[in-house]
């Protein structure tokens, strides 16, 4: 003779089994999504790496130097182009004291 508690146990097991079945496919679906996201990340990383290589190719010193000379009329820095900050301060003092006037 089967009693109510036993029925409850059987239904409980069936309920858990069905839930687990659904969870399994839910998880699998999520894992597929996750794997696809990971794949997208890898592809994006690969694209970024190519862009990084291209950027470094474009900013290589010989190219920048050529562009700076040809397009911007720049030239290498000479010692006379470099000033010490102290010299600038003393120049300011001279101007303030009216010595240049």
């Amino acid at each position: 003779m089967i009693r109510y508690p036993s029925f409850s146990f059987v239904f409980f097991i069936i309920f858990i089994a069905i839930s687990l079945y659904q969870i399994k496919y839910f998880i699998l679906k999520r894992e597929v999504e996750l794997a696809k996201i990971n794949q997208d990340i890898m592809l994006t990383k690969s694209d970024i790496n190519i862009l990084r290589a291209e950027l470094n190719y474009l900013k290589r010193p010989d190219r920048i130097e050529k562009l700076a000379i040809e397009k911007l009329n720049m030239r290498p820095i000479l010692p006379i182009d470099i000033w010490n900050i102290e010299d600038l301060v003393s120049t300011q003092n001279i101007i303030n004291n009216g010595e240049l006037l």
């Binding site: 097991i13 399994k24 894992e31 790496n49 470094n56 290589r60 130097e65 010692p79």
Partner: protein, 549 residues
């Protein structure tokens, strides 16, 4: 009856326990086990062409400022499975539209085979990839592959080296750090891309100008030994390694050994001061050539004088240097050369390193010729390290290509601080004094000091070429408080009308001037200050005499 009841109860209990156990086990397994297998299987089944294997990409190589020097990118390659092609002519005509360079006859021959895969194009662009997919060509297989690229092309190519078709390092840093790079770890070099470019440009211009066979240059921090730039000519584009000649691939800076001539006189003078066997006031008669056994030692510009050590270095007197060496003796000379590491291969982080050759027979003639750089072949990196030890206060320097690698290593003392100070003064005189051989190394605004060297080129079969020489210059800047050592070597330059002679003073020294002017602002070295004026003034104590006396 009670037994039957017990039996039923036992069976029900067992079924319930087994069910709970199964559900529990499955819950755990779903949570932990085969986490990726199920998903990757699904992705594989859905989309085979775009699936990428999850592997570790080879690490990148950076310069000291994190500029990318070498990296690995994904490329697509095109293959075809002839067994999956129904209409071969249609397939070929479709391919021809996208890839016009394809030869139809050869391709038809190729696909008339029983093979399952034929490689068509090793590298296709992303646009071609899309076009191939859009064209719906039968039997096409597009595979993702890794490719090592060097964005700087020929910048530091001798340092970076290369990898083989399987991505294994075969030369340079790629070979030395193969395991680290294969594990996806990056390598940060001590190289400064900007300084490297300037060295490469200035040196190659001079090599072309003097129609030389080649050359090499090294720029190194005098204290840490970090190499900021290392160049060798002829060079090559690192992306075309396999197409480059042996001559281009040869690293003259770290593997090539050369007799670097009078630059070695710096070492002779430093040994003389350090050994205390010679006083600064001691004079050496250089008015007559020295005849040792069958060999005659003479000077380019014979002086009718007896001169002291600073004058010997400034005038670059072979006779004077030989007389110093005679007084020091072979034991002390060889002991210091060994201490400076000129007997051993340099411990640089690339496989392309050369072993010095030195005559160690301790004969008088050998001691004398070694003193001015004959009978001793070393690499430009060896000379840089030795120069650094002379001007950095006397501490041994181990050159390195890796950033901060030798930061905490205690350095051995080779020369005293006094010897180092004396040598810095003399090196400055070589450039600033009217009789100095290195006057063309002067970079207005910066204090440069160093020594020139012109030596007959050694034949591979032995002996010397009559009309071929090696010119070099080694020095430091700012010489009052040295931060960097620069060594350049030019192999077999041809004297031009404007240069009068093919000596180091005319060919190698101007390279230093151009280099210092351009790299000093990048390296944060300011032009002259009060300190440097004080240094220049104290050089007045040296009375350098010349021909007019």
């Amino acid at each position: 009856m009670p037994n039957i009841r017990k039996g039923k109860l036992f069976v029900c209990g067992f079924i319930l326990m087994a069910s709970f156990f199964t559900i529990g086990y499955r819950t755990v397994s779903l949570a932990n086990i085969n986490k990726y297998d199920e998903a990757t299987k699904v992705i594989k089944n859905n989309d085979t062409s775009s699936y990428i294997k999850k592997n570790v990409a080879r690490g990148d190589i950076f310069d000291r400022n994190k500029n990318l020097l070498a990296t690995t990118i994904d490329i697509s390659s095109l293959s075809i499975n002839p067994q999956n092609i129904l209409n071969k002519k249609e397939t070929i005509s479709k391919l021809k539209i996208i890839f016009p360079s394809i030869n139809e006859t050869i391709l038809l021959k190729k696909i008339n085979t029983t093979k399952n895969q034929i490689n068509l194009i090793r590298e296709i662009t992303p646009k071609d990839h899309v076009d191939v997919l859009k064209a719906g060509i039968e039997g096409i297989v597009i595979e993702k592959k890794n490719k090592r690229v060097y964005p700087g092309n020929s910048l530091a190519s001798h340092i970076l080296g290369n990898t083989d078709i399987d991505g294994k390092g075969t030369a340079g840093i790629e070979k030395s750090f193969d395991n680290k790079l294969l594990n996806g770890q990056d390598v940060n070099l001590s190289i400064h891309a900007g300084v490297q470019h300037i060295l490469k440009t200035v040196l190659s211009e001079q090599i072309s100008k003097f129609e030389a066979e080649g050359g090499a240059g090294v720029i190194m921090n005098v204290n840490s030994g970090e190499i900021y730039a290392l160049a060798s000519f002829p060079d090559y584009n690192a992306n075309n390694y396999r197409k480059s000649s042996d001559e281009q691939l040869f690293n003259r800076a770290s593997k090539g050994t050369y007799e670097l001539g009078s630059t070695l006189k710096l070492i002779t003078a430093a040994i003389a001061y350090e050994s205390k066997l010679i006083k600064e006031t001691d004079l050496f008669d250089v008015s007559k050539p020295l005849k040792i056994s069958s060999r005659i030692i003479n000077d380019d510009h014979a002086l009718k004088l007896a001169i002291n050590i600073p004058e010997i270095i400034v005038h670059s007197s072979n006779i004077g240097s030989a007389l110093i060496a005679e007084k020091i003796g072979p034991d002390i000379q060889l002991k210091f050369l060994k201490k400076l590491g000129l007997f051993d291969t340099i411990k640089l982080e690339i496989p392309e390193i050369g072993k010095p050759q030195i005559i160690t027979d301790k004969k008088k003639i050998s001691t004398m010729t070694i003193s001015y750089g004959h009978g001793i072949s070393i690499t430009p990196v060896h000379l840089s390290a030795a120069t650094a030890s002379i001007i950095n206060g006397g501490l041994k320097v181990s050159p390195t290509l890796i950033k901060n690698s030798l930061k905490n290593i205690k350095k051995k003392r080779i020369f005293s601080n006094n010897t180092s100070t004396e040598m810095k003064n003399i090196m400055r005189l070589v450039v600033s004094n009217r009789y100095g051989t290195g006057k063309k190394a002067e970079a207005p605004g910066y204090l440069v000091g160093g020594k020139t060297g012109t030596a007959d080129k050694v034949k591979k079969s032995g002996g010397y070429f009559k009309n071929k020489n090696i010119v070099s210059f080694t020095g430091g800047f700012p010489i009052n408080e040295p931060k960097f050592v620069i060594t350049v070597m030019i192999d077999n330059p041809n004297g031009q009308k404007f240069s009068h002679r093919s000596t180091a003073g005319w060919i190698a020294a101007p390279v230093i001037s151009k280099l210092v002017t351009r790299i000093a602002p990048i390296l944060g070295i300011n032009p002259q200050t009060d300190k440097t004026l004080a240094f220049t003034n104290q050089l007045l104590k040296y009375k350098i005499r010349g021909d007019e006396l």
